[in-house]
Amino acid sequence: MTALKIDRLRKVYTDTYSGEEVTAIDDVSFSVRKGEFVSVLGPSGCGKTTVLNIVAGFVRQSGGTVVVDGRPVDGPGPDRGVVFQSHALFPWKTVLGNVVFGLRMRKVPRAERNARGEEFLKLVGLEGFAHRYPHELSGGMQQRLGVARVLANEPAVMLMDEPFASIDAQTRRRLQEDLTGIFETRRPTVFFVTHDVDEAVFLSDRIVVLSRRPSRVREIVDVALPRPRRWQEAAELPEFRRIANRVNELLGDDEGAGAGAGAGDGGARGGEAGGEPDAA
């Protein structure tokens, strides 16, 4: 069953300074099956985030269609939850208040939504933090909350826009493993935008590789790695390296330096130190 179908998507901008027409997305078609994890990867500035924004309903396409759960997309809606790179949490709401926000908007009764909120906080390893405020959490915990806030709504598709890009490398690996764990138990449909090749291979069932702008689908790569996946084992598999190399090749044809260089490297960047809790 198809959860998301993108057909002949096209996006033309008018440059505000020169007044020229710029084609960001030329012709992109692919679909995501229900319960499938699909990543979209491409050289920087190729318009992959624009594809996500169109699917989310934040940006209107110039041509083509996006259909989610059988309905054409027209503006944002609760059937498509978005996890942002910047987390985009509500600082004035508690952790629980953030998780149940969508349920409140849909008028789910309080007892039910709080129970559901607690359940999803537990799922992402944030139990016991319900009454804190987002600014009291580390970056990694904030993004777990971002994921819980979307999943609690049980959307048809969870859209993730480079969700771990601003998080330090070690924490990022943990979050990737936890996301895979959540995916393997709950099987949500995920549309994941990233520029990190290893991340895409580790998480996905399929990878849509886009060309440089104006973007088209270069190739859709199948990731036939066994689940459940853990970094330690997955990264050792010859199949993992083969797929990663293939994707890097596809990107390299377009761009001198591979886009995902330095992907998943073991903590060279010392960002926020030790913010993650021990519980998981």
Partner: protein, 277 residues
């Protein structure tokens, strides 16, 4: 089982430290004021100026005592606070929704922004003459001036506050099915609060000053009224006493209204940075 005792001890030290910090806080708050009063007393004594030019501290205290015992103090206070309260409440219920709407809509703000900038320069006391023509001499004209003095600063800051909400936060709310009305209460208003608090502080200051100036046209009571009446009879002690009351009331308003509001919202949410202190 030493844990509970240890915790109690920690709590006690924390409480003691809290008391200590309130004590130093009070010292820093009252110290400069005390220094000002002392300087005033010395200056009047050394220079030997006449009372009709500038009264001694004791004269002003005497005037305050008289105002208190005659009941005039409470008459003036009551009238002023009622006018201020009404004008400020009106400014809140009109300025906040308008400012938030301007922040949310490019079209609205493009149209109203030049008008708003123009009006900020004129807000408050410049309207006193026309207000008396519209409302006559009395309460309604004064309330109008308080509202007017406050409205533009509040509107402007509410608009800026909404514009400072990151676009992803707005998108997150919309993608969870937030309707227009709920967007206002749940996202735009709290999201704009750091800037709104700044607007409140500035606006309440304008409103308070507008009140005092506008009470020149009041007919029977009010702190500003007392001030202008005293001037007629060269009662410099009453003038200075009224000024002291006006200043102290503002300090109280700031401490009892604005500071707790900030502590409970913007500071609690970790959204500080936009507000000044």
């Amino acid at each position: 089982m030493t844990a509970p005792t240890a915790r109690r001890r920690a709590l006690l030290t924390a409480r003691r430290r809290g008391l200590l910090s309130t004590a130093t806080g009070a010292l820093w708050f009252f110290g400069p004021l005390a220094a000002l009063v002392a300087a005033w007393a010395v200056a009047v004594r050394v220079s030997g100026v006449e009372m009709r030019v500038f009264p001694q501290v004791t004269d002003v205290l005497g005037a305050l005592g008289d105002l208190w015992s005659s009941g005039d103090l409470f008459r003036h206070l009551g009238a002023s606070l009622r006018r201020a309260g009404l004008g400020m409440a009106l400014a809140l219920v009109t300025g906040l929704p308008f400012g938030v709407a301007l922040g949310a809509s490019r079209v609205l703000s493009a149209f109203f922004l030049p008008l708003l900038r123009f009006s900020v320069a004129l807000a408050g006391i410049a309207w006193i003459p026309i207000a008396t023509l519209w409302f006559g001499y009395g309460d309604r004209a004064v309330i109008f001036i308080v509202w007017n003095a406050m409205f533009f600063a509040l509107t402007y800051n509410a608009m800026l506050g909404v514009r400072q909400i990151p676009v992803e936060v707005l998108r997150a709310a919309r993608s969870m099915g937030t309707g227009r009305l709920r967007m206002f209460w749940e996202v735009l208003l709290p999201g704009a609060l750091p800037s709104i608090v700044t607007g409140l502080r500035v606006g309440l200051g304008y409103g308070w000053r507008g009140l005092v100036a506008a009470e020149i046209i009041a007919t029977n009571a009010g702190l500003g009224y007392a001030l202008f009446q005293a001037q007629k009879y060269f009662q410099t002690d009453v003038i200075i006493a009224s000024m002291v009351i006006i200043g102290v009331l503002w300090l109280l308003m700031d401490r009892l209204l604005l500071a707790p509001l900030e502590r409970r919202t913007v500071e609690r949410w970790g959204m500080t940075g936009a507000g000044d202190r």
